[in-house]
């Protein structure tokens, strides 16, 4: 069920919604911010090639310092209603971003989750446009990757050509020639 929920903020395409946060960097914290971003980038899961962000429902995530490191953008694509999951973010993954957010205005950190929620909501802006090139959730894409990997393994087997002739396998055979 992906019916458009009227009160859900952020633009939505299929099951996925865009989520962008704009922060003001504390004066003099530009360098510390850059350091905290580098540290995150080196953390397990975030390292290039790890493909294992601790939030299993986001497609990608970027932190962009701008205006001479006086502002910070966080942008991501989230499966589901990020507004409904706000407290969950604040309670679990936020700890990973804590070092980054220490450098922006309005962040008092845990344990006051309601305040953290307000901090996030007040930084959020809805996109003026949002498009996607595929429709699946992260979980579906991962499944599709696994299935394709398995399919390629089957094609590498010399017996595949003959076995794929079975009428029930026609849709797979159609995908087998390239």
């Amino acid at each position: 069920m992906t019916a458009e929920a009227p009160s859900r903020p952020g633009l939505q395409v299929g099951p996925t919604s865009e989520f962008s946060l704009f922060f003001h960097v504390k004066p003099g914290h530009g360098e510390a911010l850059r350091e905290s971003l580098e540290a995150l980038q080196a953390a397990p899961g975030y390292r290039p090639g790890d493909y294992d962000l601790p939030i299993g429902t986001i497609h990608e995530a970027r932190f962009v310092p701008f205006d001479n490191d006086t502002r910070l953008l966080f942008a991501t694509s989230f499966d589901g209603s990020w507004d409904a999951y706000m407290l969950d973010f604040a309670s679990k993954p936020l700890k990973l971003f804590d070092a980054i957010f220490q450098n922006v205005e309005g962040y008092d950190g845990l344990p006051d989750l309601e305040a953290v929620k307000d901090f996030i909501r007040s930084a959020q802006l809805t996109a003026g446009g949002y498009s996607r090139n595929y429709g699946g959730t992260v979980k579906e894409i991962r499944k599709a990757e696994r299935v394709n990997k398995a399919f390629q393994q089957v094609l590498d087997d010399p017996e595949a050509a003959e076995l794929l002739q079975a009428p029930a396998l026609a849709p797979l055979l159609a995908e087998a020639s390239d």
């Binding site: 009227p6 939030i55 407290l87 969950d88 979980k139």
Partner: protein
């Protein structure tokens, strides 16, 4: 402030298990005159049980009093206080219908009167192990209501446990419940430590480490809890016919039914009894809730889309940005209507189902979250097209995936089996809060 639960002030209903067998009566009242309304509350207070009294020994019957937003308004609660309640409560359930998936046959324009209307002010829920005890307490409350011409009884629903001990679809229910810190009852799921009292009762720290947003004044909010009730009609004949069509034999019929729920009819969980029902396990309160899903990530035992696994994914989502403990709830559902006799596949036109009752401190992130994100939607399990096969807002085109070796089974064209007949968001104050309400004067506005 002390963190010890004030069990002498909290109303019994939220913290006390439903007896088995049970009988229950739900009554809705309209307050036409604020003065009469407040006098009625004063008369009802002596009939109520504080939580401590029922935790020590199950009393013969106990009653819970709760109010809608309109009800608090009708009693003359000041606007400043009304404004301090949870947004969902202020809007009322009918206004939340689109959000909750109450559309089509389940939409408020089809609801049973007066559910969802501004006439619903006070809700009285009475439960007892036997009819005589129930009748006695309900009768005492009725005499109190009758004393005041400014009070109208506008709805009554009687409930009773079916002879089978099961609900209309045939399943034992009320099993999966969180234990609440400070109440003293041991968790039935050792894998889930008791949740913080503030998840259920206002005025205590909750799972976030802070205090839940509490209505003002303090005396009204503290020791209160939000109560959500929904009258849910179950289309038992349609459910049985659907399973019969999908299954080759009775054994498979029972298996598919269990896959939809996550438990066999006896209550035995698929996680512990994946292949066949185990009635002994289903009847054993010590063992039947003692499980997690970590050894079953693909859902080969219990599908990720099964009702109970959706409603409480336990450890299934530990790798997602989800803190399951923020989305737990106390359920106090009861059955209404007679059972459809065994084996009957034709609809007999009888209204039967459950009065679903939720108790918790956060109607939004508990009840509404679970209903909208986990039951109505399948995004969280990577199946955006699927909703809960048993209780989801099905439109007749939905699917349900049953993982299975060697090849998964996919049920198609699932008809709606549950229809919302109406419901309301209520607030059940502590006993001091009730006294405060009874003492309101015209000047307090």
């Amino acid at each position: 402030m002390t963190d010890a639960l004030d069990l002498d002030d909290i109303q019994a209903g939220a913290l006390h298990e439903r007896p088995s067998p049970y009988v229950g009566t739900y009554v809705l009242l309209r307050v036409n005159d604020a003065h009469d309304g407040r006098r009625l509350i004063r008369r009802l207070i002596p009939l109520l049980s504080p939580a401590r009294s029922v935790l020590d020994a199950t009393p013969s019957a106990w009653m819970t009093v709760a109010f809608t937003y309109q009800g608090l308004q009708a009693l003359g609660v000041p606007q400043e206080s009304l404004d301090s309640f949870a947004p969902e409560f202020k809007q009322g359930m009918a206004a939340r219908a689109a959000e909750l998936g109450d559309v089509g046959d389940s939409g408020p324009d089809h609801w049973e009167e007066p559910l969802g209307s501004t006439d619903v002010h006070i809700a009285l829920a009475t439960l007892a192990p036997d009819q005589a005890s129930l009748d006695e307490l309900v009768e005492r409350a009725r005499r109190a209501q009758d004393e005041f011409p400014g009070i109208d009884v506008i709805w009554r629903q009687d409930c009773h446990q079916l002879a089978s001990g099961r609900t209309s679809f045939g399943f034992r229910d009320g099993i999966g419940q969180p234990a609440v810190e400070g109440v003293g009852t041991a968790p039935t799921n050792p894998g889930e430590p008791p949740i913080k009292a503030g998840e259920i009762v206002l005025g205590y720290p909750d799972e976030t480490g802070g205090l839940p947003p509490m209505p003002t004044p303090d005396v009204l909010g503290r020791n209160g809890t939000y109560v959500v009730f929904r009258k849910l009609h179950t289309r038992v004949a349609a459910y049985r016919s659907y399973l019969r069509e999908q299954a080759a034999n009775r054994r498979e019929e029972a298996l598919l039914g269990a896959k939809m729920v996550g438990r066999w009819q006896s209550g035995a969980p698929l996680a512990l009894a994946p292949d066949a029902d185990d009635p002994e396990l289903g009847a054993d309160p010590k063992r039947r809730n003692d499980f997690l899903y970590r050894d079953d990530p693909r859902g080969l035992k219990c599908p990720a889309g099964a009702h109970a696994r959706r409603a409480n994914p336990r450890d299934s989502l530990d790798h997602d940005a989800v803190d399951v403990r923020l989305h737990r709830m106390i359920r106090r559902g009861t059955s209404y209507g007679t059972a459809l006799p065994d084996g009957v596949l034709d609809d007999d036109g009888v209204d039967r189902g459950i009065i679903f009752v939720f108790a918790g401190a956060h109607p939004g992130r508990q009840f509404e979250f679970v209903k909208t994100q986990w039951l109505n939607d399948g995004i969280f399990i990577g199946a955006p097209q699927e909703s809960d096969p048993l209780v989801g807002p099905q439109d007749g085109s939905g699917t349900f995936t049953v993982p299975r070796h060697p090849i998964r089974r996919r049920l198609r064209d699932i008809p709606p089996f549950v229809v919302t007949r109406g419901g309301e968001y209520c607030f059940a104050p502590g006993l001091r809060g009730l006294r405060w309400l009874a003492d309101l004067t015209e000047e307090s506005r």
